[in-house]
């Protein structure tokens, strides 16, 4: 059992976008801040820092979670994925492409978080209904788009058959 005094930093190691990292942080350091400040991955945005806006969403062991509602120390031993990990060899993730094509973003502040939730949905292998997409999006605030383009972008990738039918 480790007895830490208040100022002690804790050692943290986890995998982020497939890369193993080791670091140290005060126990109170939020995972979102650790990712941005210590790892320099500023694609994960912070809006509210208390779990309301969803812009800080990352994948934690494959699940979309708010990184402002976790301490960095709690990520120890886990696998984290952020928006920086989506493109492979400079090749955009299909969701990134469809967000561009469907005008799923304007300022882009909310986009990294929404992409990560959408990736979880896509990876689940179950084709979502439009209602399920909307419910998932209720965890994200976008001040720009009005959500229509976002929904279309997600549908295009997560339910490709339905979209083709719509176009014909």
């Amino acid at each position: 059992m480790s007895n830490l005094s208040v100022q002690d930093k804790v050692k943290i190691s986890f995998s982020i976008n497939g890369r193993e990292i080791e670091g140290e942080a005060e126990p109170r350091k939020l995972l979102s801040d650790f990712i941005r400040e210590d790892l320099g991955l500023t694609g994960t945005h912070v809006g509210c820092e208390h779990g309301v806006c969803g812009s800080c969403t990352v994948l934690y062991n494959g699940k979309a979670v708010r990184s402002c509602l976790m301490f960095a120390a709690q990520a120890d031993g886990s696998e984290i994925q952020t928006v920086e990990g989506l493109a492979v060899n400079g090749q955009e993730h299909p969701l990134q492409t469809s967000f561009t094509e469907c005008h799923g973003l304007q300022c882009g502040f909310c986009t990294p978080g929404i992409l990560m939730s959408s990736v979880e949905m896509l990876n689940s292998g179950e084709e979502p209904t439009t209602q399920e997409i909307k419910e998932m999006l209720s965890g994200h605030l976008c001040r720009c788009t009005g959500y229509k383009g976002i929904i279309e972008a997600i549908e295009k990738v997560c339910k490709p058959n339905a979209c083709k039918e719509g176009e014909n």
Binding site: M1, S2, N3, L4, S5, V6, Q7, D8, V10, E26, P27, R28, L30, D33, E49, H50, G51, G54, T57, Y60, K63, A64, V65, R66, C68, L69, M70, F71, A73, Q74, D76, S117, E135, M136, S138, G139
Partner: protein, 291 residues
């Protein structure tokens, strides 16, 4: 916005956790999913000296059926609960209520035990478990004890848990009434409920209500068991008149506060609307033996 400093412990098992709780007493706070607690820390509404992170304790992560009781480990996430086959099959009230909790992204992390121990009077799980007449299992360095959920909630965000105790399991008996319904009103999906109602009715073949449990949320400092309405409904069939009367009786003990989200009068009105909807739906399902 950052929490105040604290020491951090991550016990590997329950034994270590209860030792830490004993050692730190009221200085120590348990952190589970943190979906309500970390915002509170971030805003410095609470500044505990020590956090005891129970997320590594594997023995608290299970949902199982044993001796006609569904036993839900405290660290089961709300998302796991919502999708669990045992829950869908045997406790549909939970499957209906849980999707109202926050969002997928918070249910992925938020836990069952955390939500019950946090004891927000408008939160969905305390409401459902009270309707289901659940038992709460509590551990401490002195051993295990169980308590009925009927006595568990004391006031706003306060339960009978002592500082050195930890909620470890929730037990829900299988033989639940056949009719169930969960209704909630919030400003936007995923917001805290303004008011919510959970209802269980056993309805016999002639449409007579044998047994009723009605719980209202957001109307008092604790989830409110609408006992007068429950007694009144027993032995009756749900005609329009009986429904009216039951709804009036359901709110006799409700005394909601006004706040910036809704006035007292509006909350009372909404409570009646939610109670009415829940009763109708539960009765209908009970008649059709859906539960």
């Amino acid at each position: 916005m950052k929490p105040a400093t604290f020491t951090y412990h991550r016990p590997a098992d329950l034994e270590e956790a209860v030792k830490l709780l004993d050692e730190y007493g009221s200085e120590g706070k348990i952190i589970a999913g943190g979906q309500s607690f970390i915002p509170i820390l971030n805003m410095r509404m609470s500044e505990p000296g020590c956090l005891i992170d129970i997320n590594q304790i594997e023995e608290l992560k299970s949902v199982r059926l044993e001796d006609d009781v569904i036993k839900i480990g405290a660290l089961t996430t709300q998302r796991e609960l919502e999708r669990h086959e045992l829950i869908k099959k045997h406790i549909p009230l939970l499957a209906e209520g849980v999707p109202f909790i926050g969002h997928v992204q918070t249910r992925n992390r938020g836990t069952v035990g955390g939500s019950v121990a946090h004891a927000d009077p408008s939160a969905e799980l305390p409401l459902c478990f009270l309707a289901l007449d659940a038992e709460i299992v509590i551990d401490s360095i002195d051993g295990k004890r169980t308590t009925s959920i009927n006595d568990f909630f004391i006031t706003y965000l306060t339960t009978e848990l002592m500082p050195e105790e930890i909620l470890t399991e929730i037990h829900v008996p299988l033989n639940q009434p056949n009719g169930y319904a969960f209704e909630e009103f919030s400003r936007r999906h995923g917001d805290f409920a303004l008011v919510a109602a959970a209802c269980l009715l056993s309805v016999d073949d002639d449409g007579i209500i044998e047994n009723a449990r009605i719980v209202l949320g957001g109307v008092e400092a604790v989830p409110l068991l609408a006992e007068e309405a429950m007694e009144y409904l027993e032995g009756k069939s749900l005609t329009e008149n009986v429904l009216e009367q039951a709804v009036e009786l359901a709110v006799v003990d409700a005394d909601p506060d006004s706040d910036l989200h809704a006035s007292k009068e509006y909350r009372l009105h909404l409570t009646k609307v939610m109670a009415r909807k829940a009763l109708l739906k539960a009765y209908d399902r009970g008649l059709r033996k859906e539960g």
